[in-house]
């Protein structure tokens, strides 16, 4: 076979991540180069750094953003030079992983990169408490 059996999902850039980390003490997650077993309750700092790695990874590898700019702690979201489509593409990395839709991408534009990550982290935290919609 020339293709994997989950190729139907690849058109969505949807990687099957079921066997990868989930928060809440059920799996593995961590900074680059480290692997920590996570105990519940969810560790805010670890998730924050994981979000940073994930967003940076996407921006550098797929959107072609210069990795050097992340050395600046005052980096603004606007400095990423993403148009509105680019912004929602970036956010899809988070949405895909955590399984919820971020309501208004434009709220991040005036923020620094660090503020955006903190805001997303809070959304992920809140999402963990809300039940996902199910079929009636």
């Amino acid at each position: 076979m020339k293709r994997a059996s989950n190729r139907a999902l690849q058109g969505q850039n949807f990687t099957v991540r079921r066997k990868q980390p989930t928060l809440g003490g059920r799996g593995w997650c961590g900074r680059v180069g480290l692997r920590h077993p996570i105990q519940s309750p969810p560790n805010f700092t670890l998730r924050n750094s994981m979000l940073i790695d994930q967003i940076k990874g996407y921006l550098v590898e797929t959107a072609g953003v210069d990795p050097q700019i992340f050395d600046n702690p005052e980096l603004k979201v606007a400095d990423l030079n993403l148009d509105s489509l680019g912004l929602v593409e970036m956010l899809f990395e988070i949405e895909d992983k955590y399984g919820f839709q971020i309501p208004d991408p434009m709220v991040f534009l005036p923020m620094t990169f660090a503020e955006m990550v903190a805001a997303i982290d809070a959304m992920v935290q809140a999402q963990g408490k809300a039940p996902a919609p199910t079929a009636a």
Binding site: R3, S5, N6, L9, G11, R18, F92, D96, F100, Q101
Partner: protein, 420 residues
Amino acid sequence: MHPVVVTGSGIICPLGADKATTFAAALDARSGIGARPTDIATWLPHVVVAQAAVEPQTLLERADHGLDRATQFALVATAQAAAQAGFASHPDDAHRVGVFVGIGFAGSQTTDSLYARFYQTLSDPSLQHKDPTVMHPLTVPRIMANAAAAAITMRYGLRGPSNTYSVACASSAIALGEAYRAIRHGYLDAALVVGTEAMLNPGAMLGWNALRVMAKPDATDPSRSCRPFSQDRNGFVIGEGAAALVLESAGRSRRRGGAVLAEVAGYGCTSDAAHLTAPSVQGQAQAMEQALQEAGLAAHQIQYINAHGTATDAGDVIETQSIRKAFGGAADRVAVSSTKSMHGHLIGAAGALEFALSIEALNSGSLPPTAHLSVPDPRCDLDYIPLQARHGCELDAVMSNSFAFGGSNVSLIARRYASA
């Protein structure tokens, strides 16, 4: 009227990831039909398909990996065609250059993935913490039928019209014909014309399976499953891929100093206005007659026809009768083959692929055969070049036919270009 010439072409299809490999395979009567993606095999074990020889993504930059598969095929074929033509991107006359694309099922792969993702998230207990409605934000621009045309205009900086024709199996034959007319009548000086299709996904194949037009797998050799004009034919095999051609006015080509592959000489286009899927002798013959008339050629001046030749019972018999009606006494002297026996039916890409192969035949003097034609159907009694290629032929003009569900009929003629 401005003479229109082809200055480059490119192919990625089940027979090869480039034009030379594809044409060589066709002359060898090699088949690209066989292996199936496992997600199709699971539900449709009796279906054979013709997958592209190479994954298009492996030939593209990472930034293109998110594009729909059909757009990826289109970009691969276009790059080859532009390279052969020496066609520079962002040309000075960008507003005089158009993009004409033919595609049947648009971003079929992305559509299929959308539904697959929704229902999988909904039904998989391990995904219950996820909202099934979360989809990639570029889902719509990937699905839209003009996704390939848009990608090509942006990549090559072309500012003329970018039109997409979705006319089932005739899509890219019509894209070629309409681009030819736009240049011939002076609206444009050049066009990139592309046919592309990527629908080898479970959803689309379930639909094709229900229509009962697909070939049953050959019991001994699945690669022999598509047998046009053969007594034991039983349907077609869906393929995937793309073909691209650079069309230019002879004047633009001359000013650039590029080589010319052929002149586009005639285009006929009709509708049956009769049946959703059944073909019609009258509509097909009229398309061929129109093309001959526009080219100023008599039927006996065509030496090769690349038939639509899908290997359905009705299609092959009607096309035989149509060629007889349009060609009269010359029908018994023209060589005809269906290369779908090898590359399968590329639907929206079929017209461009088969026209490009016809031009290769014109220039090489070698005619690709109708593969697997051991026992001809007595009702299909033309010279269908059975089994083996024919070499050393003297060719002046060739025809390529494309007949679509919905009753659209297209015939295109290419001839050797004699510069004035």
